[in-house]
């Protein structure tokens, strides 16, 4: 995860790709990771399917349901990742709801993630107040817990969350759930500037980033972008090549 810090210092933007593990079968995960790595993404978030994904929109929920039909579980995903022999050159993150982690056992989750080469985890329904359920266990393994901040996060909370932030901060660009949007509201820019000013770690914008125009609008106010629904959809429709321009739009070195 140090690399993300270096990237920020170099002034280049990060592109974090989200994929739903096991959408189309778990054997596809490896090729998807390899593909995205080859396409130049900065890091990959591997989503674990969950029966009740309340923070996700229809695209990712549908992908999760397809994965569940393939019998994909947290354990199987981590086993799959452990079996990989190709060179993983970028940070891999796991994004999962809390319940599968609790059922798996938090301590075991931390050690298995470590063995699977996971650098950080994102748990969208584990708010800052309850992070001690997980944090001490992953700390032992040197894995980061990525915090989310949103437009509705109050200033007092924001200061608390940012003071303990590690890896990067996931800044939610819309008030709603994940999914592609046509517009990006103007107050998002101001919010991003505020977060970035206070954050000790890079700030990435996510939830609803699907177009180069979104990237252009926020480029100067964030350190990177997280793209989920657009990638999940593209993989599902077998047209992932169409995402490449978006990746380049983010990662290309820009001269101002």
């Amino acid at each position: 995860m140090k690399r993300l810090e270096q990237l920020k210092n170099s002034g280049n933007k990060a592109f974090v790709a989200y994929i739903m593990a096991g959408d189309g079968g778990l054997d596809r995960l490896k090729e998807q990771v390899q593909y995205l790595q080859g396409a130049g993404v900065t890091a990959i978030e591997i989503g674990i399917p969950f029966s009740d994904p309340v923070a996700d929109g229809p695209t990712i929920e549908a992908a999760g349901n397809r994965a569940l039909k393939h019998g994909v579980t947290l354990q199987k995903v981590l086993e799959e990742m452990k079996s990989w022999t190709f060179q993983v050159e970028i940070p891999l993150l796991v994004m999962t709801y809390l319940n599968p982690v609790l059922k798996f056992g938090v301590e075991r989750f931390a050690s298995e993630c470590s063995k699977a080469g996971v650098s950080a985890v994102i748990i969208p329904d584990l708010p800052y107040e309850h992070k001690e359920l997980v944090q001490p266990h992953i700390d032992k393994e040197g894995i980061k817990l990525i915090q989310l901040v949103t437009l509705t996060t109050t200033d007092v909370r924001l200061a608390d969350i940012l003071s303990g932030a590690e890896g990067f901060v996931y800044a939610v660009t819309v008030k709603g759930i994940t999914g592609s949007r046509d517009e990006m509201s103007e107050d998002v820019k101001a919010f991003m500037r505020k977060v970035r000013e206070k954050s000790p770690v890079p700030v990435y914008a996510g939830f609803g980033i699907s177009k180069s125009s979104h990237v252009d609008m926020l480029r100067d106010d964030v350190d990177g972008f997280i793209v989920g629904s657009a990638i999940v959809e593209a993989f599902n429709d077998n047209r992932i090549q169409e995402i490449e321009p978006l990746i380049s739009a983010v990662t290309a070195t820009h001269s101002v």
Partner: protein
């Protein structure tokens, strides 16, 4: 946060002073603080329900210990003698084993204990069970003892407890002589000691607020945290506000038609030949069920917060109808999410909601029942949180919902208590209520929680049987997990995926249970049983024909279990059933399932 145990209490005033403690210790072994089981039983009546009651023994027999557990009752046992592992293992409640620590070798002994918790103390002098001498906490350094099972005692007092916690980060601290003056407990010192631990704890573990034991919490996406916190603040404010309470009760009486009778069910009583049976008539509420009690309370709160848009989920449609009704009354915009499966089962209620001006959104995802409707309502709330209140219908969801819904439904139990005292001059022996998410049950039970002689029974839906995969018996078959913002008990598979529930009654068709119920089940205060679809349908017929009351399918579960329970009771006893709703909404199901009825 480190817990506090106040040990060696003998007087009621000191038990009351220790109200904020997490555990109270009664010493049954020879000591100047010794109490009899009878004394402990009396004192225990003044201890809050979620406080552990711990009996301290020295080389007592298993029979003596079990007797005390049953009679006081005790929730934990603490052993100070040379009890063998067989005895420790045979005790049914969690066990604390105490060790006197003089040397590093003594500290090593701790690790071998098979007890749930180990207590470290300075060596005793005259009596076993601790002497109050200061124990050298540094002896524990490097002993590699799991702090989550460590209890520290020995010479603690308000002035040094903070340092002891800093050094040992224990699960609990235990004090006795440190809160005494001249050998007698001292109210001010007890309170100061608790304050030192509670208000000054540096451990940032889970906040106790919003939890029932380990259940509850606020497990929601960050987007909702602001709304949940605002709701928490707003609710704390109105809870104490007499104006709000007046307004709420005004609508309960003038609009809902409260108070509802506690009807003596004469023919049912005669037919079963057991206890006197009373029915709490929530079926008589405007809109036909208890749900409206909560809908009014939350709608008034939403308006106080300046929110005029309401989103809600519904299973059987009773909560949806109640919410749509109240939104019409107060001119609020209303969106109701309802599973497609439930829409089919509850056509009449869907039409009622529409007639009342609500928008009904069909949910086709997952099992297309209540769980999925909650998911969609939560998503809608996430996207519209600034101007919308989520009017949750059961004692579920992130804090403060479970507490708030319970409080708004407690009118059921409060009325019942007053009415039974008027009619019978005493409290009932048993109370039954059906449990899906658990709102009518918690509202009925809550005012009776501290009345230990009243047996409380929650009745879940066993669907086609708890040994099939088609049931909704969460407490009978479920395990701990997080769903819809709270830690609770869930029907889930080995991978932590939430499973579909099944019940003929849409209102009980939920794979979780409110966090307070999960807690009450754990501590054994409420017993949870289950009733199958078929048994519930049979109870619909018997209640209709014996009392002229056609109950809702949900309520029929409580009635069916009451029929069984009554057979174990005698004529001088009293049983109360919460008839949470009327059967109008279920007529299509009754007509279909009971076809050919003669």
């Amino acid at each position: 946060m480190t817990k506090v145990k106040i040990c060696g209490l003998k007087e009621e005033q000191h038990v009351k002073a220790a109200e904020r403690a997490d555990a109270i210790g009664f010493v049954f072994a020879p000591s100047k603080r010794q109490v009899t089981i009878e004394q402990a039983t009396e004192l225990a009546k003044h201890i809050p329900v979620d406080t552990d009651k711990i009996g301290v023994f020295v080389n007592a027999s298993l029979e003596q210990i079990e007797d005390a557990i049953a009679r006081v009752p005790l929730t934990m046992v603490q052993l100070h003698g040379d009890e063998p592992d067989e005895l420790v293992g045979a005790i049914q409640v969690p066990v604390i084993q105490a060790f006197s620590i003089r040397t590093k070798e003594d500290a090593d002994q701790l690790k071998k204990s098979i007890a749930d918790y180990v207590l470290v103390d300075a060596p005793g002098t005259d009596y076993r069970g601790g002497s109050g001498k200061v124990f050298d906490w540094s002896l524990l350094d490097g002993a590699d003892i799991d702090p989550s099972r460590l209890i520290v005692a020995g010479g603690l007092k308000p002035e040094n407890v903070h340092a002891a916690i800093m050094q040992t980060t224990p699960y609990m601290v235990d004090v006795s002589s440190g809160v005494e003056t001249d050998g007698r407990k001292d109210t001010a010192k007890i309170q100061e000691f608790i304050k030192q631990v509670k208000d000054d704890s540096m451990e940032q573990t889970i906040e106790k607020v919003g939890f029932f034991g380990k259940y509850g919490g606020q497990f929601v996406p960050e987007t909702l945290m602001k709304a949940v916190k605002e709701l928490e603040d707003a609710y704390n404010e109105v809870k104490e506000d007499p104006e709000f309470q007046k307004e709420y009760h005004h609508y309960l009486s003038e609009y809902v038609g409260r108070e509802q009778p506690l009807t003596f069910a004469q023919r049912m009583t005669e037919s079963l030949g057991g206890p006197k049976i009373y029915l709490k008539r929530e079926d008589l509420n405007h809109t036909g069920a208890h749900k409206v009690n909560n809908a009014i309370g939350q709608a008034l709160l939403a308006m106080r917060m300046g929110k005029r848009k309401i989103v809600a989920e519904t299973g059987a449609g009773q909560h949806g109808v109640a919410t749509a009704t109240i939104c019409a009354l107060f001119d609020l915009e209303c969106v109701i999410f309802m599973g497609e499966e439930d829409i089919k089962r509850q056509q009449l209620n869907v039409f009622r909601m529409k007639l009342l001006g609500a928008r009904v959104e069909s949910v086709t995802k997952g099992s297309a029942t209540l769980k999925d409707a909650v998911n969609e309502a939560l998503r809608y709330w996430v996207s519209n949180v600034e101007d919308t209140h989520y009017l949750i219908g059961s004692a579920l969801g992130p804090h403060p919902f479970p507490t708030m819904v319970r409080d708004f439904q407690s009118v059921i139990g409060e009325e019942t208590k007053r009415q039974i005292l008027e009619k019978e001059g005493r409290l009932p022996d048993a109370i039954l209520a059906c449990v899906g998410g658990g709102s009518n049950a918690i509202g009925m039970f809550y005012p009776f929680i501290k009345d230990k002689d009243v047996q409380l029974i929650g009745v879940e839906a066993a669907g086609q049987g708890v040994d099939t995969d088609r049931h909704a018996a969460t407490l009978t078959k479920g395990t701990e997990g997080v769903l819809h913002g709270a830690m609770m008990k869930l029907l889930q598979d080995d991978a932590g995926q939430v499973q579909e529930a099944h019940s003929i009654s849409a209102g009980l068709d939920y794979p979780g249970i409110g966090p307070e119920h999960a807690y009450l089940a754990d501590i054994g205060r409420v017993e949870y049983r289950s009733i199958t679809d078929k048994e519930a349908l049979d109870a619909v017929i018997s209640m209709s024909r014996l009392e002229g009351i056609i109950p809702a399918l949900e309520s029929a579960h409580a009635i069916a279990e009451a029929e069984k329970q009554a057979k174990t009771m005698t004529a001088d006893q009293i049983l109360v059933i919460c008839v949470s709703g009327r059967g109008d909404k279920d007529m299509a199901t009754y007509a279909e399932k009971l076809e050919g009825l003669s």
